[in-house]
Symmetry: C2
Subunit: 276 residues, 2 copies
Amino acid sequence: MGKQIEIICVGNELLIGKILNTNAHWLAKRTTSLGMTVRRVTVVSDDIAEIATAVRESLKRKPKLIITTGGLGPTFDDKTLEGIAKALKRKLEVNEKALGMVREKYEAYVKQRKIERVELTPPRVKMAKLPERSKPLPNPVGTAPGVETKVSGTVLIALPGVPSEMEAIFEESIAPLIRKEAGVTVFFERSIFADGIMESVLAPLIDEVMHGKSYVYIKSHPKGQEKKPHLEVHFSTTANSHETARKCVDGAVTQLSQLIEENGGTIRRQSEKHEH
Amino acid sequence: MGKQIEIICVGNELLIGKILNTNAHWLAKRTTSLGMTVRRVTVVSDDIAEIATAVRESLKRKPKLIITTGGLGPTFDDKTLEGIAKALKRKLEVNEKALGMVREKYEAYVKQRKIERVELTPPRVKMAKLPERSKPLPNPVGTAPGVETKVSGTVLIALPGVPSEMEAIFEESIAPLIRKEAGVTVFFERSIFADGIMESVLAPLIDEVMHGKSYVYIKSHPKGQEKKPHLEVHFSTTANSHETARKCVDGAVTQLSQLIEENGGTIRRQSEKHEH
């Protein structure tokens, strides 16, 4: 429970299917590998009320961490911080540290491009308007800083929607935070591929193995069709050490592989082990 | 309001970042092209309580349509219908029509593969256990039927997680339903690409154009970095006819292109028009 995270992605472009939600995928994979459990992903539009509602609902579930992506830029429809401020009933105010970060970026651009002095126009100042009592997080590759706010037991982080910026701020400021909090929990996963056994035959076998080793989560993913069965079977667990995690998963893989072969299936190949 | 849809994706594999949520992307694009507005996408785990909560929350927002993906198969962790039943306070019961569909599929497999008679084992019967007062939707490419349930003003549809099955049931049973309800609404979009103008300079220009033509939604997507600006500007609208929609978008494109050039930017190229 103490390691739960929720992801809230803000952006009309996600809701009209213009782009694939690779940010949610990256964050889910990355935070899972750091030992956290992603409880929910929510995608909402660039609308202050929608953002505020999603944040409030998420806070009620008391996750350790909420990460939002998108809506931090200079344009009128970048509304994430307004939405968060509304949810927390805090004002938006120019954060001097954030303004310093934005100013530095533009001064560097001016130098590079040898153009006239760049002013801090309202759209640029906008990127430094944070909810009260927030902390800006440096953006190593772009302009808009990330934002960190604490709300009772939850840390609420707002990251930009541009993947390279989102990932850079995550690695620089969020990953160390999670590692510090999470202790030594590791996530371990591997897959086997089974042919010649239907998913409906496999179902009770998985049940049997998971019943014995409930700390390993096993899930079958049909890759062919039920009539020409080709199944990926995915094993995952979290534990206090790599060794323990690997031992649990390997035990479950061995046991299920045997059961699959006893039921007429063949194990085609095993995927590489993934460690994080 | 009458054309809102919500998408609920069920699956631990999404929350651990094992797979990208291409189903949400496909459904968002497809339903938008049919004139609907996707209000929210929610991803939850294979957990009855989590699924039920997400469905109940979504129903409270009274969308016209809710589509769930995933969790209809034969395995123990396919729990979507249990979650829906819990949300609606209905029982799960074997639906004779659904059982007939499942039986037919297995009989066909038996014929094809010339193996011994396939029994309707509990995991197979499970795929025909629907919430009371539901209708099974034929699955043209897989085994588990889709499920349609009406709840006051909302149609709740459960689709399988395998993309080919999800898409096939959608095209056969859902698209005609939406077309019938939606009348002649069409969605129209196009993009232009601008170089040499910063997003923070573009922001008030977009504001100006959208203020004049609020029925066209304009959004900038930074492709380079703020310091070496390369921006995609995406225009979209819905209208009663292709002609109207195209005319609105083209007007906004012309107006904004002019403003961009007046501010030192260049329009690099225009994407093809997309019509649906």
